[in-house]
């Protein structure tokens, strides 16, 4: 059951909620739509559910035009952000709803419905809760009722809108694991919307990063984190340092440094921006020829990771560095000390000549070449 989304566009008055969005979803895939609010992820989910329709573009399922099918007949399961449980119905009635409203010809018998609801409640670990009302349940329990209700009609596609948004941190993590297991068990094609990158990276097979109604990047969690395709993804996912750079004669200039570097072939001279992850910066107290001189302003440990803040006068900005906590203790890093910092690799976006915006089509991963003597030995 492959779902093909092609060139979808949706406007609300002057606001472009979706702007030429194309995506293909394979059977059994677990997809996360990740983006800040207003990025169009919920609009896309609602279009998949049949609750909203695009102004242009196509949506097909194995070649069948889904836009001709209303929400009622689309056969998707949808879990709302605030669950939208029927408040005047018990847990049992909520889960049975999708079966009870079927036309008589397709409606299972009462006994069958009861049997199916019982099985679902067992699956979501809510046995014995059948007689309760939604108001008598905790957030996590309500979430699972909503999931059981969505699964009751045996949908081909499960959609979840910010499924963990309204839960406290601990319940969230537990439920996340549990949902991942459930997905592995049932192998049901699942699309969920989230603004929480940790959630997306942990759960999904593929992450779709969205911003301002457009897809910025589609990839596995690893690809999204390790090889961000655009400045937005760099800034939205994980931490990164952003530096202004110049490219000249195949060399990278940043601050007072000039790096001989691999990866700049075919890039004309000009300005650019470079992004470097905090864990891709190497530190040493030894003054070296290549590498910026910096002052360690602040260091703190969070769990097993040490976060270091450096003042770099040559760049006129601070850099964030992360290294193993044990490492930092062994080297007895302290605030105030002088440090040399070297990027191990950076991602460079040359600025487009006409707009001055980073040009994502000329993105390059740049590896500075350090001589043996000029290489920071830590890490």
């Amino acid at each position: 059951m492959t779902i093909a989304i092609t060139h979808l566009a949706r406007r609300f008055a002057d606001f472009r909620a979706l702007d030429d969005v194309s995506l293909s979803i394979a059977p059994g895939e677990f997809i996360a739509l990740l983006g800040p609010s207003g990025s169009g992820k919920t609009t896309l989910l609602r279009i998949l559910a049949g609750l909203d329709f695009p102004d242009s573009g196509e949506l097909t399922q194995d070649g069948r035009d889904l836009l001709r099918v209303g929400a009622r007949d689309r056969g998707v399961g949808l879990v709302f952000q605030h669950y939208a449980l029927f408040r005047h119905m018990t847990v049992f009635e909520n889960v049975a709803f999708g079966l009870r409203v079927r036309p008589r010809a397709r409606r299972p018998s009462k006994a069958e419905i009861a049997d199916r609801v019982d099985k679902l409640l067992k699956r979501v670990q809510l046995e014995g809760m059948a007689g309760r009302y939604p108001s008598q349940l905790s957030g996590g329990q309500r979430q699972r009722v909503a999931l059981a209700r969505a699964l009751a009609t045996e949908p081909d596609l499960l959609l979840l809108d910010e499924p963990f948004g309204a839960l406290d941190a601990q319940v969230r993590v537990t439920l996340r694991r549990w949902l991942r297991h459930l997905h592995e068990e049932m192998n049901l094609t699942t699309v969920f919307v989230t603004h929480d990158q940790e959630e997306a990276l942990e759960l999904a097979d593929r992450v779709v990063v969205m911003s301002q109604g457009r897809i910025e990047q589609v990839g596995t969690p690893d690809e999204i984190y390790q090889q961000p395709a655009t400045p937005f993804v760099f800034e939205f996912i994980g931490k990164s340092n952003k530096l202004p750079v110049r490219i000249q004669n195949g060399r990278l200039h940043a601050g007072d440094q000039r790096f001989d570097a691999d990866g700049l072939d075919g890039i004309a001279d000009g300005s650019g921006v470079a992004y470097v992850r905090p864990e891709h910066l190497a530190l040493t107290p030894t003054p070296l020829e290549s590498g910026w001189r910096a002052t360690l302003r602040h260091i703190y440990l969070s769990g097993s990771v040490a976060h270091v803040e450096l003042d770099v006068p040559a760049l006129g900005q601070t850099l964030e560095v992360e290294l193993g906590g044990e490492e930092s203790q062994r080297r007895s890093l302290q605030s105030g000390m002088s440090i040399t910092v070297q990027p191990r690799h950076l991602t460079v976006f040359p600025l487009a000549g006409n707009s001055g915006e980073p040009d994502i089509t000329r993105r390059r991963v740049v590896h500075p070449r350090y001589g043996q003597a000029a290489l920071a030995r830590w890490r």
């Binding site: 949808l78 449980l85 999708g98 409203v101 009302y133 309500r142 209700r149």
Partner: protein, 289 residues
């Protein structure tokens, strides 16, 4: 609703008891003077000449006719406005369309127009000299100074009650549950009867009660279109006026006491519902966000 917002006594900041005491006394005194006293006076005056006179006034054929007519008018106007109110609230809270603000203003119109003016509108439209008067006469249809006119005027005056009761509630409930039902495969009617209606039932009943109270008590608009034909087009409030103008004070107050009793009954039901409905909201509204 108030019950939900109450702050437990121990959480309130401590303050002098004098000011609240004075305010409560003032409010109670005001209520006593302007509400309870006149209401009590109605019953006292009604029974002044003894129970016999009272019963005689109430079972008088003209009084019985007025009671029947009042009930008939309410029995037509209230269901009509219930259907309209639910439809209007549904439209106002579930759809975006051009002229939505205008619809909202129109629903409120009967509240802002004097009832006498509402009555006059119908006379101007359907009366013998009105716009449609000649046509109606030619087809032998009598609206003004007849029962249909009374119903029309009552429908107009009581139009906002149900809709105004439902709109804020349906707005706050949102349409998530209805959308969930749709995705689960429910048809429009199934959504309405299984999801929407149960969620608004108490507010709906409350609105219907208010609408009914007004329908039975309406005087101004009905007075203009009635024509005051005894035993035919006199509702209870009009009958009271006629008796009063005939210097039959005991009779007037006896019939008025019936209306007052109906009002008290409505008030009782309303209080019961508020208590019930408040508990319902508190117990079943999702917590936590």
């Amino acid at each position: 609703m108030e019950a939900v917002l109450k702050i437990p006594a121990h959480a309130r900041p401590r303050r002098s008891r004098l000011v609240p005491g004075l305010l409560i006394a003032a409010a109670l005194g005001f209520l006593l003077l302007f509400l309870v006293l006149p209401l009590a006076a109605v019953f006292v005056e009604a029974l002044r000449k003894g129970l016999g006179t009272y019963v005689a006034a109430v079972v008088h054929p003209e009084a019985i006719a007025a009671i029947k007519l009042t009930l008939l008018v309410a029995a037509i106007a209230v269901p009509l406005n219930t259907v309209f109110g639910v439809a209007a609230a549904w439209a106002m809270t579930r759809f975006d369309f051009r002229g939505k603000a205008l619809l909202g203003a129109l629903i409120d119109l009967p509240f802002s127009v004097s009832p006498v003016v509402s009555g006059l509108i119908y006379v101007l439209l359907f009366g013998a000299q009105g716009w449609f008067g000649p046509w109606l006469q030619a087809h032998d249809i009598k609206l003004i100074f007849a029962v249909p006119g009374l119903v029309l005027a009552t429908v107009f005056v009581t139009l906002p009650f149900v809709a105004r009761e439902l709109i804020p509630l349906m707005q706050s409930q949102g349409s998530d549950e209805e959308e969930a039902a749709r995705v689960l495969g429910a048809s429009g009617w199934q959504i309405f009867f299984r999801v929407t209606l149960p969620n608004i039932r108490w507010a709906l009943l409350y609105g219907v009660l208010l609408c009914n109270a007004r329908a039975m008590g309406e005087f101004g608009a009905v007075s203009v279109v009635s024509g005051h034909i005894r035993g035919l087009t006199n509702t209870l409030p009009l009958h009271v006026e006629i008796l009063y103008n005939d210097y039959n004070y005991a009779g007037a107050f006896a019939v008025a006491s019936l209306l007052a009793f109906l009002a008290l009954l409505t008030l009782g039901l309303k209080t019961f519902l508020e208590w019930r409905y408040g508990a319902e909201l508190a117990a079943r509204a999702p917590r936590g966000h």
